[in-house]
């Protein structure tokens, strides 16, 4: 019998196992040991390992990030946790100018492997400053690895990889995935950097999706199936390094590419993957690449505007139909992003 865990539980289990396996690991950040414990993800770790290894911090994100670098240089394995991606902007200098560069800038004589977990909010009016997805920002920087786990299995695997690897890693979790349950092995395992996965096999079109958009892609694939379109879904799991080979292999098979991202379209991950197709997969393409991502606009809060802002099945189906040269615009049974069962406050 396979055991099921929620994504949040999987992160929590990975955290406990990392603390258990390696006494150099410590976990810190605003609220990690408070009653909410980062949506429960650090609760068990705090209970088991106590304040010497799992501890709350002042609201000093940039300094906490610099502290992680110094601690890593001193032989520790820091895991810094943020309840929202948006707070990562405060860490930007230490992440971009320092953590990312510590290895190469010093000629490879040192490493500063730090792990940063940050969660994307969505819905219930999280709004412009509490719902950003910053994977592209970090993927842009040489020297940082960026994971965007979409399943409980991957959430555990990328975490355990990050705390045992030798590069700085930013893990972008999605709050809307935290309650999703699936099979997760009890033992420790890793999802290697640059190791993507085909989450649905198909032959007509390749959908590359990250984070929450993987589940949107799976929902859309059902709608597409009803239209006799057989979609293959590729989840890169890491946007840096990116599993180019897997994406190109699928593209070679289907000849059509639709890219889904949880963040903005302009200069985002979807642009990078489209560029990959143009540069290295041009001869496979039977149609222009289509992208489904956020419009260039900060997330609005109104319950009437959120559904207009976030793309879902309708937009994905339309994009796929465009790449297949089909007429777009026929009614899709389930349209827009699926409504959250979630009830406030957040």
């Amino acid at each position: 019998m396979t055991r099921e865990l929620s994504y949040a539980q999987a992160v929590g289990e990975a955290t406990v196992q990392a603390l258990e396996a390696d006494e150099r690991v410590f976990v810190y950040g605003i609220g990690v040991d408070d009653p909410k414990a980062i949506f429960g993800t650090t609760k068990e770790a705090a209970r088991r390992f106590g304040p010497s290894r799992v501890f709350d911090t002042p609201a000093s994100e940039n300094a906490l990030t610099g502290l992680a670098i110094g601690a890593a240089l001193g032989g520790l394995r820091p895991v810094l946790v943020h309840a929202r991606n948006d707070f990562l902007y405060y860490c930007m200098d230490q992440l971009a100018n320092h953590a990312a560069k510590w290895h190469a800038m010093f000629g490879g004589v040192m490493r500063a492997p730090i792990v940063v977990r940050a969660i994307v909010g969505k819905g219930w009016g999280q709004g412009a400053q509490h719902s950003q997805s910053l994977q592209a920002l970090f993927a842009h920087l040489p020297g940082i690895q960026v994971a965007v786990p979409a399943t409980p299995y991957d959430a555990k695997g990328v975490f355990l990889q990050a705390v045992s690897g030798n590069a700085p890693v930013v893990i972008i979790e999605h709050r809307r995935l935290h309650d999703v349950k699936a099979a997760v092995p009890e033992e420790r395992y890793t999802v290697r950097p640059g190791q993507g996965a085909v989450v649905r096999k198909g032959k007509d079109v390749t959908i590359v999706a990250v984070s929450l958009m993987v589940s949107e892609a799976l929902a859309a694939a059902e709608a597409l199936k009803a239209r006799r379109i057989d979609a293959e879904i590729v989840d890169p799991r890491w946007v840096k390094p990116l599993d180019k080979a897997l994406i190109l292999k699928s593209l070679k098979k289907t000849g059509r590419l639709v890219v889904l991202d949880t963040s903005w379209k302009t200069c985002g991950v979807s642009a990078e993957i489209a560029a990959l197709a143009a540069e290295e997969g041009f001869s496979y393409l039977k149609a222009p690449v289509a992208r489904v991502a956020l419009p260039d606009y900060p997330a609005p809060t109104s319950a009437a505007l959120e559904p207009l802002f976030y793309p879902g099945t309708r937009e994905i189906v339309a994009a796929v139909e465009r790449t297949l040269g089909r007429k777009v615009g026929r009614k899709v049974a389930s349209s827009g992003p699926r409504q959250e069962a979630y009830i406030g406050p957040f």
Binding site: P300, T301, L305
Partner: protein, 325 residues
């Protein structure tokens, strides 16, 4: 006891009105929030009303104010449009940001409410910039920035204080020290040195105040605002107070375990409005009957704002053109 004797009747009435309007609006939001129609994270200021009321009573309409995620009270105290505020919480097109910002991002430029940030300490340097604009253009406006005790921990706090002191900016920093950052007490976040002392160390005159004593805050703010207006530079007010409800949302939360019910009850007994009313009674000022009438008028105003919000239309489109850089 808050000593109200010898104070102008108009001032006492003004302070009472501002505090009561904040309280009643917040209580109404708390009562209605469970209907699930205000679909945005909502941080209430119940228990902290005296500080924004007292500070804003010293401001002109054209003075500017910058706020945080917990921005309802400052918005109301500075004269923000109540209808537009409640409509914003309901995500309506008639809201102060047309359903874009929600509870954490209230603004009303007509009332000098020039910005709120849900990111800690972020509005502090922006307030300094507003003060800089006044100074550069030889205007006698004053910029005021409200923030919580956790904002003090961010780097930009220290950077901003240095700028303000160095350039003698007409800005008043108001720290509402409620001793909590979400569920973490200040003792676990800062060494036990007074926040006001940090400002002093940066070269800014600072005072630690009982933030639930509306007249104490009023007097200190009055000096600080005058100082700024006369071009004599920034001031800092650290105001001790307490948040009654949960960090975000309408409920009491002593069952969560990060604070005791006794602690909350102690602070509720030190209710800034009740304390003020006791002082008014002792001084024979603003009689009970007058207060009742004021409160009645406020309740009507709040009801009207809710009705306005509920019947207002939702925004129909994202207006992407408006967001183009």
């Amino acid at each position: 006891m808050i000593d109200c004797s010898g104070r102008p009747a108009a001032l006492l009435k003004d302070l009472f009105t501002r505090m009561t309007l904040i309280r009643e609006a917040e209580e109404k939001i708390a009562a209605l929030y469970p209907e699930q129609e205000m679909r945005c994270p909502t941080h209430l200021s119940i228990g902290q009303e005296a500080i924004p009321a007292a500070v804003c009573a010293n401001l002109r309409k054209d003075d500017t104010v910058f706020l945080t995620h917990r921005c309802h009270a400052g918005y109301i105290a500075k004269g923000g449009d109540l209808n537009k505020m409640i409509a914003e919480l309901y995500g309506k097109a008639t809201g102060c940001t047309k359903g874009r910002g929600g509870s954490m991002h209230l603004v009303d430029p007509q009332a000098g409410l020039m910005g709120t940030s849900a990111l800690l300490a972020a509005s502090i340097p922006i307030a300094c910039g507003s003060a800089f604009a006044f100074k550069q253009q030889k205007q006698d406006g004053v910029a005021v920035c409200f923030f919580g005790d956790a904002a003090v921990e961010e780097g930009t706090f220290s950077e901003s204080l240095n700028l303000a002191a160095l350039w003698s900016l007409p800005v008043v920093f108001v720290c509402e020290n409620n001793g909590l950052s979400t569920c973490t007490p200040i003792s676990r976040r800062q060494p036990s040195i007074p926040i006001a002392g940090r400002a002093e160390a940066a070269g800014i005159p600072a005072q630690a105040l009982d933030g639930n004593d509306v007249l104490a805050v009023y007097d200190a703010a009055s000096k600080a605002v005058a100082r700024a207006r006369q071009g004599r530079g920034p001031s800092f007010l650290e105001c001790a107070t307490y948040r009654w409800r949960e960090h975000v949302g309408p409920n009491f939360d002593w069952d969560m375990g990060y604070r005791s019910e006794a602690e909350v009850r102690r602070w509720m007994a030190a209710d800034p409005i009740k304390r003020f009313e006791a002082g008014l009674d002792a001084a024979g000022a603003l009689p009970k009957e007058q207060r009742r009438l004021i409160r009645e008028g406020i309740l009507e105003k709040v009801e009207a704002a809710v009705a306005f919000a509920k019947k207002s239309p939702f925004p129909g489109s994202l207006d992407l053109e408006g967001a183009k850089a």
